[in-house]
């Protein structure tokens, strides 16, 4: 046995226990995490995925439907909380105990699995099963592709980051939703005077802060600024437009744009959403995946029409196209290369027959998501969330550039350094210039 794996698992258990506890305490909706079962007997494949409403229920239902339709070949699902899962899945793959089906975000994380030849190359399979591929959004395949080959099946929903706002809060101070970045800066003192925090932010989770930089970089400098980082251009973070974006961000922090105590709030507990729907904060920049839980937990906030939403507004004089967006172009399912041939066959059958089946598609739409299936918009009108769904569909399909979230696009090493430096930037511990210097050192890692 690999001696290192012992201490690793111990650590991991600690962290899992911890983060599971956070979830339990914060929201009653996420059930206890099921015990992980790795390996699995022949005739059954394993599948690890994220817990939390509404995705968990939909994923579980899909597995259930597959198992009912295929009594001889079973899939055993296990759920994990977001941040815990990121560690757990990496460790399991490293220890050779990966589940058959690996749920993920594609991009840099997927590339690290590919580099270690831990996931199946699905290019040929997609070639033979063109129907499976052709029904999905073509844009969702970018983050599934490494070196021209497809290593993951895109699944679930397209999730751009959008600006949510509480209409009631705006009525209270008799203001209009912001149309530009300047409007945002004008709104900040007005909301603060009314004892409403301008923006909710779960800063302890760090990637939540990152969404602000993603948009400011795009709106000020255009998608090329981050693309240069991604491509490994030397000193790409020191681009003057990048510095300008970082400076604008710190301006907002210094103006008390974010809720008091934002750096001790975690997104896993959905506390940031609670701040918005309880009216303690007026606006929130977040992924469209939060819509479902705000509808569930927020009382009549969503059903009563108090939730507003828009694409991130343009910055005056900025280069970026205001239709651009960032976020998750899809979620991704890979097959472990360590799985048995039988398990791989089960997984492929699952991809072809169960993933984004009509039944699953309906469930995603019902939860307020846009499944990444072509023509999904035709079914939106019947949904009770039709307006929101049409808006998300419009943002996703109308975006000139739909960039993948930075921490998912970059390698895990660069992403961790990025998140660390973003946390310090938001704490005002480092200046934009120091941020750029620190981040330039990670280019190419």
């Amino acid at each position: 046995m690999d001696p290192i794996s012992i201490s690793r698992r111990t650590l991991l258990r600690l962290s899992l226990v911890g983060t599971a506890g956070v979830g339990l305490a914060a929201c009653g909706s996420s059930g206890p995490d099921k015990a992980s079962d790795s390996g699995g007997s022949t005739g059954s494949a394993t599948y690890w995925y994220l817990s939390g409403a509404p995705g968990e229920g939909i994923r579980t239902n899909t597995v259930k439907r597959f198992n009912e339709a295929n009594p001889k070949t079973q899939i055993k699902g296990s759920t994990f909380q977001n941040d815990a899962y990121k560690t757990k899945i990496k460790t399991a793959i490293g220890a050779g105990e990966a589940p058959t089906i690996i749920w993920g975000w594609g991009g840099g994380g997927l590339k690290s699995y590919v580099d270690a030849s831990q996931v199946e190359d699905l290019t040929d399979w997609f070639g033979q099963n063109a129907a499976v591929k052709d029904r999905l959004f073509p844009s969702s395949f970018g983050a599934a592709t490494v070196g021209g080959k497809i290593y993951a099946m895109p699944c679930e929903t397209v999730q751009p980051i959008v600006l949510f706002y509480n209409k009631t809060s705006f009525e209270k101070i008799k203001a209009e939703p912001p149309k530009t970045w300047a409007d945002i800066m004008d709104l900040v003192p007005k909301f603060n005077a009314a004892k409403i925090a301008p923006f909710s932010l779960a800063g302890q989770s760090r990637w939540t802060n990152m969404m602000w930089l993603e948009f400011l970089f795009d709106r000020i400098g255009g998608p090329e600024v981050f693309q240069a980082v991604f491509d490994g251009t030397k000193d790409a973070w020191s681009n003057p437009l990048a510095i300008q974006a970082l400076t604008e961000c710190q301006k907002l922090i210094k103006a008390n744009g974010f809720i008091k105590g934002f750096s001790s709030i975690t997104a896993d507990s959905n506390a940031d959403q609670a701040l918005l729907y309880t009216g303690k904060a007026a606006m929130m920049l977040h992924g469209t995946w939060t819509y479902g839980s705000m509808a569930t937990d927020g009382g009549d906030f969503v059903s009563g029409g108090h939730l507003g939403y828009m694409n991130f507004p343009p910055v005056d004089g900025g280069k970026g196209d205001p239709t651009n967006t960032v976020g998750n172009p899809g979620q991704y399912l890979s097959i472990s290369s360590k799985a048995t041939a039988e398990q791989k066959d089960i997984a492929k059958k699952f991809f072809a027959t169960a993933v984004l089946s009509d039944a699953e598609k309906k469930e995603w739409i019902a939860s307020g998501g846009i499944p990444i299936v072509k023509g999904a918009d035709a079914e939106l009108a019947n949904s009770k969330d039709a307006d929101f769904l049409k808006f998300v569909y419009g943002v996703a399909s109308g975006a000139k550039t739909f960039a993948q979230s930075w921490d998912q696009a970059l390698s895990p090493t660069a992403a961790e350094s990025l998140l660390d430096n973003i946390a310090k930037l938001f704490q005002l511990q480092i200046t934009p210039e120091q941020f750029a210097t620190n981040m330039n050192q990670t280019i190419g890692t």
């Binding site: 690999d2 001696p3 012992i6 201490s7 650590l11 302890q204 105590g261 750096s263 961790e416």
Partner: protein
């Protein structure tokens, strides 16, 4: 004074007589220690000379990880935070534990009840404690906001200094009961006759505490401090849940750095370097405390020596 330990002398004698079988009996413990202590330790030492992303192939890179980590400006900061939390939590815990322990050492019935009550925090897992405190300290939904108590709704975990103070408070809240229990046991071992003699000499309670109780507890202080100090090197779960090392890196202790480097940044070589440094600190501090104890912790203080 031999009344205090009537049974240990014959037991010791018989053990000495059968030293061969004693070694034999230690074997299971040795096997477990080797399997779960020594071998992983050697594994980590080995990994510290490699570069590995935790998933792919392990490459031997010699001293590169060591050079990189020792040049990392984050390392001195993490060491500083680790020692800050270690020293401050020792300073808070030790006097309080001694006072509570000595107080509980009295034989009144209510003191036993109190001892049981005090002990409750230790029965909870650090993770549960962290989750509970995180909820209580939340500036928007926590205790302060709920009860409309202004000073209580600080940004407890969002400001560097406050976050460190909160960590120390919770650690103390959790572990003072345990150390009090040790001190309670030790204080009860102090022979009554010494206090009786002091009373005859006219010493008051405070004088007796300084002249008899404290000196008699010397070895217990060393033992309890060793547990505190070495234990504080491994604070992880509490801080991980409470602040995740933040705000910024204000509570980023070595153990957390190790986790983040290894499991979030996928740099297992660098993480192993931090692990080895942690082991060295732990061993060094334990030896240092033994030295401060004058190597006397194997000797009995019962006779007043």
């Amino acid at each position: 004074m031999s009344t205090a330990r009537p049974s240990t002398a014959p037991a010791g004698a018989s053990l000495a007589g059968r030293s061969g079988s004693v070694t034999w009996m230690a074997l299971p413990a040795m096997v477990i220690f080797t399997a779960f202590g020594v071998i992983p330790l050697l594994g980590v030492l080995g990994l510290s000379f490699t570069s590995w992303d935790g998933i792919g192939v392990i490459h031997f890179t010699g001293l590169r990880s060591w050079r990189a980590e020792l040049a990392n400006p984050g390392l001195p900061h993490a060491i500083f935070v680790t020692f800050k939390i270690m020293i401050l939590s020792w300073l808070v815990q030790t006097p309080l534990s001694i006072l509570i322990g000595v107080f509980l050492a009295g034989h009144q019935r209510y003191r036993n009840w109190l001892a049981v009550l005090y002990f409750i925090p230790l029965l909870l897992s650090s993770a549960a404690i962290a989750v509970a405190y995180k909820a209580l300290l939340d500036p928007n939904f926590g205790l302060g906001a709920g009860l409309h108590i202004g000073w209580l709704s600080q940004d407890w975990l969002g400001r560097g200094g406050l976050a460190v103070a909160v960590v120390i408070f919770i650690v103390s809240w959790q572990f003072i009961p345990f150390h009090s229990l040790i001190y309670q046991g030790a204080a009860r071992q102090i022979p009554r006759t010494m206090y009786e003699a002091a009373e005859i000499d006219g010493a008051g309670r405070i004088r007796a505490f300084w002249s008899i109780t404290l000196p008699q507890l010397k070895n217990t202080v060393i033992a309890s401090s060793t547990l505190m100090v070495v234990g504080s090197l491994t604070f992880f779960d509490l801080i991980f849940i409470l602040t995740a090392g933040g705000p910024g890196d204000a509570t980023r202790v070595l153990a957390l750095s190790m986790y983040k480097t290894g499991f979030q940044a996928n740099l297992m070589g660098l993480a192993s370097v931090i692990a080895v440094i942690l082991v060295l600190f732990g061993v060094g501090l334990a030896l240092l405390l033994r030295r401060i104890g004058g190597g006397a912790n194997t000797q009995s203080t019962l006779e007043g020596g």
